[in-house]
């Protein structure tokens, strides 16, 4: 027979105001197995905890029930207290008589019997509690960052600086991400490359960082502390050790194809680096464009390469490594606005998206830094910017605000005026949103000092007329229709999740919102954690955000990773499933429902009528099990149980609660 002690907390008057403590004590004394009942004003206080500890000793208690606030609040506190008195922490049970009773019922006549029923249920469960031990998990002191944009770079640097080894996996041939594509950054007009490239070099040269560019994560298995990851390093067909980055190969290469980095506005060679400041500065051969791979002849790059670094026989490599923690920083895409027929995107070379227009300012961009019309090479005198193309649009786009467009449009209008002094910009907007340090001032400057005309309203139609684009819009403030004979139109298209974000989410085991942006564990208090322990998110893969926010989030994620890696061991889940293999029929239904692949079939030998018999049963890996209990319900032989929430314990609670009938 267990020796149960029950302790009822007044919580000042929070509980005692609506629950009759005296009556509860009286009732508790009569519960089966209860040998000691006490009460205290604030049980969670040090004195309250001491009261429990002393009673455990004095009355030789082997189970403790506390009638207090929610177990989600103080279960940990009281588990610690009973541990200090020599009891296993899982021999404690909490009856939630505050959040689930005294705070939601006003009538003491009704709240008191309910509190008694909850205490009785907790005591009935406690009587069946077993001492449990959480498995310890060794922490692999190495982090993985997926994505080598500014978020990934910042996170990797912070982790490396804290003294831990970190690998950065980047799909493209170079790190840098979206920020590398930008000319200037708002609101300071810093040259994007000037602030980014030193960081790219720093992360590449850091002794604690390994860059795995032109690589993709193929598989993630395991759990916090021990993620086993397979990374595919795609063949570059260039030996990174021999290559000196001289660039002769891509100078001589005869095959051209549209450049992804230039948003298709310029061509690159089949052997290429995406942009001049690429890190690492090692070219890759694009098999789909290369004449040798397509037609079997050419090999000019191999002939011209001074250190003979070209290797057409190079194969994709699979790297298998274990990581303690993972940061996902995979960034964002731009929405393709082709389905907005009225804007005519894709039908005229002078209708561009914001990022395409950005490339025109860049000295190494498609126009060599000259802002000109792609149709005739003349500088544009009138440019119309259209905001919220696909953002804040329930019907045809995304419900959300893309957050960065108002600011980069103001930036581009300022830069345009500086490059083409007689240019005039018009911005069609719904609302101008400039929350952020120095942002409002910056946008004001665009409107007041750079003569940018802000027109509240929408554009209904754009069509080419001789060498112009006729923009028909409505100014919703004056109610008048507006016609602008524009030279160029720039669409501030929505920032959207990467097309393969759902796949990446499934791969690493994190979930997404309805727009495929990755979900944080809590919108306010856990902004970089995910629901999967040990996996963190940073940057625009979580939601559209600007560079300062991205960097802040990346550093936050890095701190979480460093905190995790600083531990040698992690405590796993104690309430895990266990199977009685002697009774297991080997139906394997449990294996099918387990979301963590914690259950696997295993062959055992049994003695049977003098001989031995081999049969398949299951085993549970307690370090993989999270304790959801799905397996217990499908078990045909009723022989998988969940420790801490066993069938017997739950049924005992049911019986105790229904005893009043």
């Amino acid at each position: 027979m267990p020796r149960i002690g029950i302790f009822i907390c007044h919580c000042g008057s929070n509980i005692a105001g609506t629950v009759d403590i005296e009556k509860s004590i009286e009732a508790a004394r009569g519960f089966p197995g209860v040998v000691h009942v006490d009460e205290y004003r604030y049980l969670c206080s040090e004195l309250g905890q001491d009261l429990i500890k002393k009673a455990i000793e004095e009355h030789n208690l082997d189970r403790v029930v506390v009638g207090t606030c929610s177990p989600r609040m103080h279960e940990v506190t009281f588990r610690k207290a009973v541990t200090e008195a020599g009891l296993n922490p899982y021999l404690l049970e909490v009856a939630n008589i505050r959040e689930h009773c005294s705070w939601v019922h006003k009538d003491i006549e009704k709240a008191t019997p309910k509190a008694i029923a909850l205490l009785r249920a907790a005591a009935a469960k406690a009587a069946l509690n077993d001492p449990l031990v959480a498995p310890s998990v060794e922490v692999e002191k190495r982090a993985l960052v997926i994505g080598g944009g500014i978020a990934g770079i910042q996170a990797a640097l912070d982790i490396a600086e804290a003294g831990y080894i970190v690998d950065v996996v980047e799909r493209e041939p170079s790190i840098g991400g979206r920020m590398a594509q930008l000319e200037k950054t708002f609101p300071t007009l810093d040259c994007s490359a000037c602030i980014l490239t030193p960081k790219m070099v720093e992360v590449a040269q850091h002794p604690n960082v390994s860059l795995l560019t032109y690589s993709e994560v193929e598989e993630v298995k395991g759990f916090v502390g021990q993620f086993d990851v397979k990374i595919k390093q795609k063949a570059r067909y260039v030996d990174p050790v021999k290559c000196t980055g001289c660039g002769i190969c891509y100078e001589k290469c005869p095959a051209k194809t549209p450049s992804e980095f230039e948003m298709g506005l310029a061509k690159r060679k089949a052997i290429y680096v995406p942009f001049p400041q690429a890190v690492p500065n090692i070219p890759v051969i694009d098999r789909d464009a290369c004449l040798y791979f397509r037609k079997g002849r050419c090999q000019i790059c191999a002939q011209e390469c001074p250190p003979q670094a070209i290797d057409y026989e190079q194969q994709d490599q699979i790297i298998e490594r274990r990581y303690g923690a993972i940061i996902v920083a995979t960034g964002f895409d731009q929405m393709n606005p082709s389905h907005y027929g009225e804007y005519g995107y894709g039908q005229h070379p002078d209708i561009l998206t914001g990022l395409e227009f950005e490339r025109l300012f860049n000295a190494s961009g498609p126009t060599g830094g000259k802002v000109v019309r792609l149709s005739d090479g003349k500088p544009p005198k009138k440019v119309v910017f259209i905001q919220c193309v696909g953002s804040r649009d329930k019907a045809r786009g995304m419900n959300y605000c893309s957050k960065i467009c108002c600011m980069y449009t103001a930036k581009q209008a300022i830069l345009l005026k500086e490059k083409v002094p007689d240019a005039k910009s018009y911005v069609f907007y719904i609302d101008v949103r400039t929350a952020g340090k120095g942002y409002e001032e910056f946008q004001r400057r665009a409107a007041e000092e750079y003569d940018v005309a802000y027109l509240r309203g929408q554009v209904g139609k754009i069509f080419p007329e001789s060498d112009h684009l006729m923009v028909h819009g409505v100014d919703s403030l004056s109610g008048k229709t507006i016609e602008i004979k524009a030279d160029m139109v720039v669409l501030a298209v929505a920032s959207v999740a990467r097309a393969d974000a759902p796949e990446v989410g499934r791969l690493v085991g994190i979930n997404s919102d309805s727009y495929n942006f990755f979900n944080e564990a809590h919108p306010k208090l856990k902004p970089v954690e995910t629901h999967t322990a040990g996996i963190f998110i940073a940057g625009a893969c979580q939601a559209p955000k600007d560079i300062p926010e991205t960097v802040a989030q990346a550093s936050a994620a890095a701190v979480k990773v460093v905190g995790l890696l600083s531990k040698d061991m992690l405590q796993g889940e104690a309430c895990t499933a266990e199977v009685n293999q002697a009774e297991c029929s080997g139906c394997l239904y449990c294996e099918a429902v387990c979301p963590y692949s914690a259950i696997s079939p295993v062959e055992i030998e049994e003695r049977y009528h003098g001989g031995t018999l081999k049969r398949t049963v299951v085993e549970v890996n307690p370090t993989l099990c999270h304790g959801c209990g799905s397996c217990t319900v499908v078990c045909r032989s009723g022989t998988i149980n969940l420790k801490g929430f066993s069938n017997e314990q739950i049924l005992a609670e049911v019986d105790a609660i229904c005893l009043q009938r």
């Binding site: 019922h105 959801c628 799905s630 217990t632 739950i650 609660i657 229904c658």
Partner: protein, 155 residues
């Protein structure tokens, strides 16, 4: 026989057992408390890790022991702490509800609801609605024979 069965008058109070998943609905119940919302004391909550942990046998046991209504509450589909637990729970418990009705119970006595940890108001509302519904239905008589046996045995 316990008193509850004989009472059919206005002062009869139903017993509603609510199984709540630890991560969403139980926390939603906590929020109802911290927000000082109010719902009938007829509802008693049992904490389970996930609604995928819910064996229909727990529900039947509650009815057998005299519960007048049983409610299972879990995370909204897609939000399960264990990724897929509530999908298993949803499929199993909706099939069970059909079976429950087929076996001659009023199907309204057994409900499944999705309540997130931020929906304290919804938690209170659902408990209020469930209690009112069961009050209107009256006591669970279907299993009184099974109960009579268990009561005598326990004495």
């Amino acid at each position: 026989m316990s008193a509850a069965l004989n009472e059919t008058s206005a002062d009869w109070e139903p017993l509603v057992v609510a199984f709540c998943c630890n991560w969403c609905s139980y926390a939603g119940g906590d929020l109802a408390g911290t927000s000082r919302m109010s719902y009938p004391a007829n509802v008693k909550v049992i904490r389970v890790p996930c609604c995928g942990r819910m064996n229909p046998m727990f529900v039947l046991r509650a009815f057998q022991r005299g519960a007048d209504g049983v409610l299972v509450a879990g995370c909204h589909p897609g939000d399960c702490h264990y990724s897929t637990g509530n999908y298993h729970g949803r499929r199993r418990l909706s099939a069970f509800k059909r079976l429950f009705e087929f076996a001659g119970f009023e199907p309204e006595r057994f409900e499944v609801r999705w309540i997130s940890s931020s929906e304290g108001d919804k938690f209170a509302e659902e408990m209020e609605t469930m209690t009112a519904k069961i009050k209107a239905l009256g006591p669970n008589r279907k299993m009184r024979d099974a109960r009579w046996q268990s009561v005598t045995q326990s004495k």
